[in-house]
């Protein structure tokens, strides 16, 4: 009896500790996930106001100090791009807010058109991405992403002042894809990343829907090529990088697969669903009730870089954040909520003055989470 008493006094609190560890923190961080998943306007606008304020503050090249000028430029570009995407998604889901958020969308587009923001692409190609639309170089790092934002805005306002530019870039992208033996256009000279082609392909599909133009033949061919060459059959994930011939030069990875799916589902919902299933099968994991996405498939490992962000115990920060978008697109509320709890835990949200600010995210982190959390569900 004494033995039982002593051990009960030790074992039950220990058991309670682990049960509490696996349930309470994650459940606490998951509060609000239902409102986000359901597209609650008031919830979305809490973060939209913060992103708008931070974009208004105008991050510049000096805001970012990665140590590499190209990455500083990419982060500046990504901040304005993701903010613009988030505002577009918000308006597309809540058309009554169009007058309120359209100025923010146009502000993001205008910033993306400045020489300061374009500098990372211009320095690599030694020509500006917009000035060289009649040239053959790829510019996927800039053009595909930028045109994705333009195409979303086209859905909101088909006659907006950037419609002609959207048409020009769309025609350029189609021409460059059709003349590419690998079916990809280069991100930078001699650098090909399938993920950077996803927004360009999605932008063509969205522009087609917004304008009534039929790009179905081009898109069917592009989808078949992407599935056949750039999705790893075993893991179901997007290959991170390829060479000039389209052969893998890097592993299939979480960051590229998640971000690629975030864009691709607009053009190729079936292919996106296949890659999303690959993410679930090969990368989904968790700890203490928090959801996480690995950068490398189960049983594999690798280095972390500017794309993956920190990789701790195999969990990829970028892969985890970027999968929130596809989870909402494909109606996976359970994974969305688990990843949301991780974003809240790592992001340390502050609700000062009714605005939501992920303290650890800064302008780029807030803009990315805004775009991911407000991703439009597939109809």
């Amino acid at each position: 009896m004494l033995w039982l008493r002593r051990n009960l006094l030790f074992l039950l609190p220990l058991l309670a500790f682990f049960i509490a560890l696996w349930t309470i923190p994650a459940a606490w961080c998951r509060r609000g996930a239902g409102e986000w998943f359901g597209g609650d306007l008031a919830t979305q606008q809490q973060l939209a106001r913060t992103v708008a304020r931070q974009i208004l503050d105008g991050p510049t090249h000096d805001t970012f100090k990665t140590g590499i000028k190209r990455f500083d430029g990419e982060w500046l570009f990504g901040t304005n791009l993701m903010a613009g995407i988030g505002f577009c998604q918000l308006v597309l889901q809540h058309p009554e807010t169009r007058a309120e958020w359209t100025p923010q969308i146009e502000s993001c587009i205008r910033r993306l058109l400045t020489k300061d923001v374009q500098e990372f692409d211009r320095a690599a190609w030694e020509e500006g991405p917009i000035e060289s639309l009649d040239q053959p170089q790829g510019h996927a790092a800039y053009l595909g992403y930028f045109n994705f934002l333009l195409s979303l805005y086209r859905q909101i306002d088909p006659a907006n002042e950037f419609a002609a530019l959207n048409d020009q870039i769309t025609a350029t992208l189609i021409r460059r894809y059709e003349s590419s033996p690998s079916g990809l256009i280069a991100t930078y000279p001699n650098e090909w990343y399938p993920v950077d082609n996803a927004p360009g392909l999605a932008s063509i599909a969205i522009t087609g829907r917004a304008t009534g133009r039929d790009y179905s033949a081009f898109l069917k061919k592009a989808e078949d090529s992407f599935r056949q060459h750039y999705v790893n059959a075993k893991s179901g994930l997007i290959i991170q990088a390829v060479n000039a011939k389209g052969l893998p030069s890097d592993q299939p990875r979480g960051s590229g697969s998640a971000l690629g799916t975030f864009f691709l589902y607009h053009a190729f919902p079936d292919l996106g669903r296949e890659i999303y299933a690959g993410i679930q099968r090969s990368l989904e994991t968790g700890l203490f009730g928090f959801g996480a996405i690995r950068e490398y498939p189960h049983g594999e490992s690798g280095v972390w870089d500017i794309d993956s962000g920190p990789v701790i115990f195999g969990f990829g920060f970028s892969a985890t954040g970027f999968t929130i978008g596809p989870a909402r697109a494909y109606g996976d509320e359970a994974l969305y909520a688990r990843l949301f709890s991780s974003a809240v835990f790592a992001g340390a949200p502050s609700y000062r003055g009714g605005d939501l600010d992920f303290l650890t995210g800064g302008p780029l982190g807030n803009a990315i989470l805004f775009a991911m959390l407000t991703t439009a569900p597939l109809p």
């Binding site: 008493r5 220990l14 509490a20 000096d62 970012f64 100090k65 140590g67 340390a348 650890t360 780029l364």
Partner: protein
């Protein structure tokens, strides 16, 4: 508070102090806006130290403090119940 056993009260005070320290750190991080600079790798050393301290405190509060409070409460309940049983079965 006076209804609680002394040992539990002592632990709760300590946990409350850690929780309060975390909340103060949270406010400092939110008001000084240092985190965006750290995330963009554009920071001073004291800012990095503040962020490391803040993240350590956040991990401590969420993953240690909260389960520890639950564990402590369970410990007190089990001890109370065992003592009840002990008293009722002991000879007069």
């Amino acid at each position: 508070m006076t209804l609680l056993p002394n040992s539990l009260r002592g632990y709760l005070w300590r946990f409350s102090a850690i929780g309060a320290a975390y909340l103060i750190l949270f406010e400092i991080v939110a008001r000084t806006n240092v985190m965006p600079r750290v995330m963009t790798l554009n920071f001073a050393e004291w800012e990095l130290a503040l962020i490391v301290l803040f993240l350590a405190a956040r991990f401590l509060v969420y993953l240690v403090l909260i389960p520890a409070v639950v564990s402590l409460v369970v410990y007190q309940v089990v001890r109370y119940l065992l003592n009840l049983g002990k008293r009722s079965t002991s000879p007069r």
